[in-house]
Subunit: 225 residues, 2 copies
Amino acid sequence: MGKCEQCIIKQFNSLKALTKEELVRISGCKTSKKIKKGEVIFEEGEVLNGVYCVRDGICKLSKLSENGKDQIVKMVVKGQLLGQRSLISEESSNLQATALNDMEVCFIPKSEIFADLHNNPKFSFEVLQDMAHDLRDSDDIIVNMAQKSVRQRLAETLVYIHKNFGTNPDGTLSVLLSREDYANIVGTATESAIRVLSQFKKEGFISTVGKYIKIEDLASLKRVE
Amino acid sequence: MGKCEQCIIKQFNSLKALTKEELVRISGCKTSKKIKKGEVIFEEGEVLNGVYCVRDGICKLSKLSENGKDQIVKMVVKGQLLGQRSLISEESSNLQATALNDMEVCFIPKSEIFADLHNNPKFSFEVLQDMAHDLRDSDDIIVNMAQKSVRQRLAETLVYIHKNFGTNPDGTLSVLLSREDYANIVGTATESAIRVLSQFKKEGFISTVGKYIKIEDLASLKRVE
DNA sequence: ATTTTAATATGATATATGTCATGTTTTATT
DNA sequence: AATAAAACATGACATATATCATATTAAAAT
């Protein structure tokens, strides 16, 4: 099992603020885990006893609505921490985490994180900044949900995924989502998401390579009204 | 001007984690301010040089959407801190704060807050918990926006205001919002908000006393489908 | 007190989106 | 390879909500 002190992944999250000694200590009690595509990492209502540091892959965070739909609230990729919010508020998780492709994560027990949060102000400030950033993102999502059309939201989702999660060598979006996933991000019916994507295809904004989506006209997608 | 060490308000927010000495120091450089109903406390894009501790009154945090509507994302009341997210991320504010009634706030300079965030882990943990809580709320709002009807969202808004901001002696909601405000919370057209509120009145779920709304049947409002 | 302005209310209609049905294609399973 | 099961696609129609128009009422301003 790899050592946290030497792991590059930590550069991308708050763990970078830890000292060498703290990392060695954490390294000693962390557990690595492989998670298969589609597997649930934790469920809504589950009590988390630590955080996950995502070494590879991507997952979705969703919340079941009363109408039976599973609204996707956020996606967490390689480099990011997973479960920090629930850990800090010491409540059970309000979201379910599901792997969107094969993942590799390290689980760090709560006690270790808490120790560092209380002893290393640099670390807790990093976590604070992280959450402040998430909060800003949430505000934007709320405004989009409330004020924009499905067409606009879907266009923005594609642009967001392109920008943040990148593309494969052939230019297709590296994250593979089902039409239902797209619907659950945007907050619409699966059929509506399908229709809008078909429309984007007709308009030449996107193309599809098998199940993968390729953005053909980013500028137009950004301009969608 | 009152002293922070003796102020009861701090019991309701993260400032309670500060030591007596820290409070005395903050007390020395804070400034009190009265804000009239309708006044803007800070604008979207404005750089905040500190946080506000709300001693009295209530304000709305909103974000202007491209379609010209001003989506209300959160309300901040007496006892809470205002502007902490922007302060921590060291970005300009992504939201505008507007007083919903006459307010009394204390402004605490950024340097003081930062000093304590870096030196008092109890304090920074309190702020962390605060933000974790806000994040959870945001998740819920996103799901509601995405999956519930205007009628449901408006019913929930009334229940939320009733529960969190309380009532006047005559039972009316103590927070006075225009129909436009309700529309901007729920993310709908003003006319739609008016229609739904009229409907609630017809159904006997609420009544109105002048501009004030009184909840007559909380159970039914909670059950609105 | 009168006028002006803003807020609330309601009808008529347009539009976006949801729902249901059905067909096709792709992916899994035997 | 054949079958079953998902995922994707599209039409027809229902419904929620937005928009525009126009009253009515309440609050400000003169």
